[in-house]
Symmetry: C2
């Protein structure tokens, strides 16, 4: 029932499209913008002037072009001046990220065990305030994005269930806002969702409209891009693929049920199968992959089994979503690299031929920083939706 | 990277929004259109005049309003004059459906076993031609939509794999076009996808943005609405939930793999469990439900088991998609009604609490006609995207 947009809507969309282009692709000539956006030269000029007047972009002459004639002006995002804060709760990391996606500053804090949201918020807010001290007075903060492992209620930034932190109904968004004491808008997202968002915007999945990004930590979740848009579900909880049951009456899961996919491919399961039940964390996991590499039979069996189960679940998701790319992030990246043969073999035997035809398996291009960059993208989304509102 | 729309785009969107409103909601006063679409009165007047000039809507005075003053004119879809053909391949049904969704005419043909696409096409085309004979000369056919069980390659209307028909790579779209010998645009869709589309547009899921429509026949598929849009996947094969594996090394499936969900909840499995391996089809299935109702222990066990497996798979999908509604269509409707207790119980124990909070379980409002109505909607979509192109 959506009617067409008003003239103001159209201008806002055009401003957003131009700003998004330089945000994603960096400095671009007016000539290229004219072609890419399909708008005429005078419109591009007017839009650039508007964005420039509020300090979001700047214009200048390009470097040596080697062509004759007057070179087309280059439009650059004001990367050093316009920025968002980005916070990754489970790893206690914070960054200041400029328009255009560059990490301008960052803090990686050590993480004490059993941290509550009420305790995490002041630590993260402290890191943000520290970074704030060296920001010049005329810089523009467009917001803060928060990435968190667990189920996040979309509207409120409430963490319903966090497998890494053990949090239940923790209001991390509100806690951070309190600590920061500013009116900067804060948007909270699931870590797999924001990592997928980052890889789709400026990573390995750029240009792909149907993408599955698997992110493993203690739990396993997915960020899903369907038809070019994030799939979030009704309450914001979409993508809880780790709780797809793969074994009826299987191993008990943190969620209270049994036989969830993450009980076969998650950290605990792999460490237990490798005979290291007491170990914990990414480091311990990497030791298992190392041991398997060095010929440790028990580690090899554990990795092979987990790889087979990873392929089993991916095949299910490939049949359900028909994606063109599956990305393996977090611990799923390590498992994918260690057991690619099992994964492909299981995928080939379980997935439908038609769904398998075009699917590419990939590791993230943005590496460990994908969640931080994606969380910042949440904040930039608000800016891109209405660029002149920044003033 | 999408720039804002041009003035022509805006007009096209507004025309589409107005026409969509009367297509879905029926006769509407200009005053209501002004409010609902958020456009001013003169714009609504101009849009209505445009649509009226090409014969898509008509205007008239409303029936008795009971209010003083000049009544607002009513805009009606030209339901008898503007229509689409709709074809359901697996059940050999064809209909002529008017703008607004009313079934103007229909043909239900008897279906011989083992029919090839090359044989189905002339039968269905014959039914269409028969209906065509009584259509008045000034009526406007906007296209034909085709619903088919199986995987449909989006761009070409090619049936990759049809479980009911046994078809492999059958070009049903092209075959129908050849038989009809017209240049009417033909769009082919999976039966679950189009039924979901129909229920979302004008059925039980109207107003719901995240919907899972399960459709059972010999196989089981899903039509998925995510964020208000159809989820089709990269090649058009999205929603093959029947081939989600629920039992490792389980029963062999038509797809060549084992343990697929449809081997536990599909027609064959239920009939076999009820001791009726030689029986086939919906009628035989209904007999099992009847027998269970009358106290037949074997039938009861078969229904209970299938219901439990139905709940098992729905729980997985609820965790993955976080839908606000799950609709049970085709044979899944019968199974849902016969085993609602098992389904709810399994859902409660397997699905995540947060995902379960808002989900409603429903049967289709459009009944058996949902695929026919949805297939027509595929054809109407083209009209709504650019209404004046109809001329």
């Amino acid at each position: 029932m959506r009617p067409g947009p008003s003239q103001d809507d159209v201008r806002r969309q055009n401003l957003g499209a131009l700003l998004r282009h330089v945000h994603v692709h960096g400095a671009t000539t007016r000539a290229e913008l004219t072609t890419t956006l399909g708008l005429n030269r005078s419109t591009i000029g007017a839009l650039t002037a508007d964005l420039s007047s509020v300090g979001l972009v700047s214009e200048g002459t390009p470097k040596e072009t080697g062509r004759a004639g007057r070179p087309s002006l280059v439009v650059r995002p004001e990367s050093a001046r316009v920025y968002a804060y980005s916070v990754e709760v489970d790893r206690l990391r914070a960054a200041r990220i400029g328009l255009g996606g560059a990490v301008l500053d960052r803090r990686d804090l050590p993480r004490p065990r059993g941290l509550l949201a009420a305790e995490a918020a002041p630590l993260l807010a402290g890191a943000v305030k520290e970074m704030q001290q060296v920001v010049s007075a005329d810089a523009i903060c467009v917001g803060a994005g928060v990435a968190v492992c667990g189920m996040v209620r979309r509207d409120e930034g409430l963490v319903r269930l966090g497998p890494t932190t053990g949090w239940v109904d923790e209001p991390i968004g509100a806690a951070l806002a309190d600590e920061l004491g500013t009116d900067v808008p804060i948007t909270v997202g699931n870590v797999a969702d924001v990592a997928a968002f980052a890889e789709h915007a400026r990573g390995v999945a750029a240009g792909c409209d149907n993408v599955l990004y698997l992110y493993g930590d203690v739990g396993v979740g997915a960020g899903i891009i369907a038809g070019g848009r994030r799939l979030t579900g009704h309450g914001g909880y979409g993508g809880e693929v780790g709780h797809m049951k793969v074994v009826r009456d299987g191993k008990p899961c943190e969620c209270g049920s049994r036989g969830c996919w993450e009980t076969e491919i998650g950290e605990h399961s792999l460490l237990r199968a490798a005979g290291r039940s007491d170990a914990r964390g990414r480091h311990a996991l990497l030791e298992v992959f190392d041991a398997a590499d060095r010929g440790d039979a028990r580690a090899q069996t554990a990795v092979r089994q987990a790889g087979d189960w990873l392929g089993f679940g991916v095949a299910n998701l490939v049949n359900v979503f028909n994606p063109e790319m599956v990305i393996f992030g977090g611990t799923m990246r390590d498992l994918y690299l260690a057991a690619a043969a099992q994964i492909r073999s299981r995928l080939n035997s379980n997935a439908l031929g038609a769904c398998l035809e075009h699917v590419r398996l990939r590791t993230p291009a943005l590496g460990e920083d994908a969640p931080l960059i994606g969380a910042a993208e949440l904040a930039f989304e608000r800016l891109l939706a209405d660029p002149l509102d920044v003033g």
